[in-house]
């Protein structure tokens, strides 16, 4: 392979024109979509608008496309970058020439991504992120893969010395790669309540939309007869409802499976000496690296079914990463041992049962009971208003669910505070474990409402650079002593948070 010389200004791969062109076209049509459709429809209807005929419209669109193409070519020609000893230089812009210089030491992350189009024409895009505001990031949209990898390596070459991260260059130690079967299980065992609710509301909305249509078509009477027939016995009603519910469940299952596959296709965790790399995605391939020093929180999620199947998700919250990327730092379908190994790699000396396990006050149950009661009252009110008193039977389903909700919310809530870590467990259907390192705490907060004061109960909010976690409803005394302890540790250790 020919090594690319980065010391002289170079352009990206000439395929970049296609990428820029496609990107700008999509952007343009997104912006003017409404106007275009409206004018297009009115032209087609009346065959002309003012003096514009369909042919002229097509010509107009062609003209716009050519303009975008010309802009894309100019952009490509003017987009040049090179590396000097300590900096990354980028010249861009057609009329306004921008010259961007980024010191290598200030580069926070380098991502390699590949969307669907880029996969087809076999190029990757390299995204360079710096600390600071979101506008300061740079994307080179078309490089062939070896060049991109080389560039990434070169960009980090200075950092390596500073952060003492030494990565073996050609060693690829694939620690974990997911099989389609496990992805399927992962998708199936997801918490379907959310998508269930979404689809239910969607179906209801659709039904009410159709109601007016049906009336218009004078079909409503037939439908009503049909429905009445069906509803003549309670058994029938139950069967119809059951069929609807099963359908909705099936749809939400399918939805989850497809989503899981698209996002996590070919998920691969590669282990380097100090860092961990994640590769995944079907249409949008991403390659990310995790640096232990930048990790702020770890969130482990699983649920009953997943636990049984040995599926755990690990979400890594890093500092200085924008919200869109944050979602991608998520590794699904891990076995328990793999999870523990990975956590051990990312957090030194962490073990699960470090520190004493403590639970929130029973007040927690009362609060969640109150919350769910409020929800029940509203739900009942709505259903009675919409369907009459018949719908009260639904409480036979809701009330046990509510009781289970309160029970599990309390059962799964706990916290542990050890020498270096805070672990907080929560969840109702999911079991969520939040882990954070004490020396990465940014601030601590005690919260107490006026109703909690007589009972001397308070909540503790612990913030790191990427997430705030709450230890809910513990006794004020405990809250204060944890507060003092955490602050003492942060302030006396003098360790860097990043």
């Amino acid at each position: 392979m020919e090594m690319t010389d980065f010391s002289k200004p170079i352009r990206q791969s000439s395929k970049g024109i296609i990428i820029i062109f496609a990107f700008n076209t999509v952007k343009f049509f997104k912006k003017f979509f409404v106007i275009l459709v409206a004018s297009g429809v009115s032209i087609l209807k009346s065959k002309s608008l003012g003096n514009i005929t369909p042919t002229m419209l097509i010509l107009g669109v062609l003209g716009i496309l050519i303009t975008i193409l010309v802009i894309a070519i100019l952009k490509y020609l003017n987009f040049k970058f090179h590396l000097s000893e300590d900096d990354f230089h980028l010249a861009s812009g057609i009329i306004n020439r921008d010259n961007t210089i980024i010191p290598k030491s200030k580069i926070q992350n380098v991502y390699i991504k590949q969307n669907f189009l880029q996969q087809i024409i076999n190029v990757v895009s390299v995204k360079i992120e710096t600390a600071g505001d979101k506008k300061s990031e740079i994307e080179i949209s078309a490089l062939d893969k070896p060049t991109a990898l080389l560039l990434k390596e070169k960009l980090f070459s200075k950092n390596i010395l500073e952060n003492e991260i030494k990565e073996p260059v050609n060693e690829r130690d694939v620690f974990f790669s997911v099989s389609p079967k496990r992805l399927l299980l992962e998708g199936l065992s997801q918490n379907h309540f959310k998508s269930f609710l979404l689809i239910t509301t969607f179906v209801f909305g659709l039904y009410s939309e159709f109601e007016s249509y049906l009336k218009e078509l004078k079909l409503d009477k037939q439908i009503d007869d049909f429905v009445n027939q069906e509803e003549s016995t309670i058994l029938n009603l139950l069967i119809t409802n059951a069929i609807i519910v099963i359908n909705v469940v099936l749809i939400s299952l399918l939805f989850s499976v497809i989503k899981t596959f698209i996002i996590n296709f070919n998920l691969e965790v590669v282990e380097h000496q100090k860092t961990v790399e994640i590769n995944k995605g079907l249409f949008n391939k991403v390659s990310l690296s995790l640096t232990p020093s930048r990790i702020q929180n770890l969130v482990v999620t699983t649920n009953r079914v997943k636990q049984y199947l040995g599926l755990h998700s690990l979400s890594v919250k890093q500092a200085m990463v924008d919200a869109k990327q944050q979602k991608n730092f998520n590794i699904v379908a891990l076995e328990k041992e793999q999870l523990n190994y990975l956590i051990d790699k990312l957090l030194l000396n962490y073990t699960e049962d470090q520190g004493e396990l403590a639970k929130p006050n029973r007040y927690y149950m009362r609060i969640s009971a109150l919350e769910i009661l409020l929800f029940l009252i509203i739900a009942n009110g709505l259903s009675i208003a919409a369907f009459g008193l018949v719908m009260l039977w639904i409480n036979t389903v809701f009330v046990p669910l509510a009781v289970l909700y309160v029970y599990f919310a309390y059962k799964k809530a706990y916290y542990r505070i050890s020498d270096d870590f805070v672990t907080i467990g929560s969840g109702v259907i999911d079991t969520t474990t939040n882990i954070l390192q004490i020396h990465k705490i940014q601030s601590v907060k005690i919260k107490q409402t006026i109703f909690q004061k007589p009972k001397s109960i308070a909540s503790l909010v612990i913030s790191t650079a990427s997430k705030s976690v709450t230890i809910p409803y513990i006794s004020k005394q405990d809250a204060i002593s944890i507060y003092n302890l955490l602050l003492y540790k942060v302030e006396s250790q003098d360790r860097d948070w990043m």
Binding site: Q442, S443, V444, K445, I446, S468, I480, S481, E491
Partner: protein, 174 residues
């Protein structure tokens, strides 16, 4: 490397219970009062404006109007009382290693930000605050916006002093 792992005596750790929190300047109460009065005026005039437009079109609905007005006025009075009472809860303290700020009547919170986690400090003054000789101290951390502190209603002199102390500490650590 010699590794020591001394037991920490939780009793002897400095506690926030022992810290004497300082109330913010009394003058800030005036600013709160002015702000709240302004909101009330806006709300009440909005109600009257609404009445004017509805009457123009439909001529009736006066009963509803009085209910709405009463509700708005009650809301304003409660809001004013709560924010007056909450004023007493606004307190702060600067320790050698951290900054503490407490506030809130209905939801009382005490936030502490260690000095070593502060990214930068700034002191800002609105037009109103300037005329009362007050200032706001904004303390930024690298964390989520939730962990940033903003102490309002400090006497200007004190705000600058605190700012200098914190800046010196933050820069000294580097």
């Amino acid at each position: 490397m010699t590794f020591t792992n001394l037991q920490i005596d939780t009793e002897s750790i400095p506690s926030i219970d022992d810290v004497v929190l300082k109330p913010i300047s009394k003058a800030y109460l005036k600013i709160i009062a002015l702000n709240k009065l302004m909101i009330c005026t806006v709300l009440i005039s909005a109600v009257f404006l609404g009445k004017y437009f509805i009457e123009k079109n439909e001529e009736s609905l006066p009963i509803n109007f009085w209910y709405v007005l009463a509700a708005v006025i009650v809301f304003c009075i409660v809001n004013l009382i709560v924010s007056f009472l909450a004023f007493k809860k606004r307190k702060y303290a600067i320790r050698a290693h951290d900054v503490i700020y407490a506030k809130g009547l209905i939801v009382h919170s005490i936030v502490t930000v260690p000095m070593s986690r502060i990214q930068h400090v700034e002191e800002s003054r609105s037009w109103l605050a300037r005329s009362f000789g007050l200032a706001t101290l904004n303390i930024y951390t690298a964390g989520e916006s939730g962990s940033d502190l903003s102490i309002r209603g400090l006497p200007y002199l004190e705000a600058t002093q605190i700012k200098d102390i914190i800046s010196a500490k933050v820069n000294g650590n580097d």
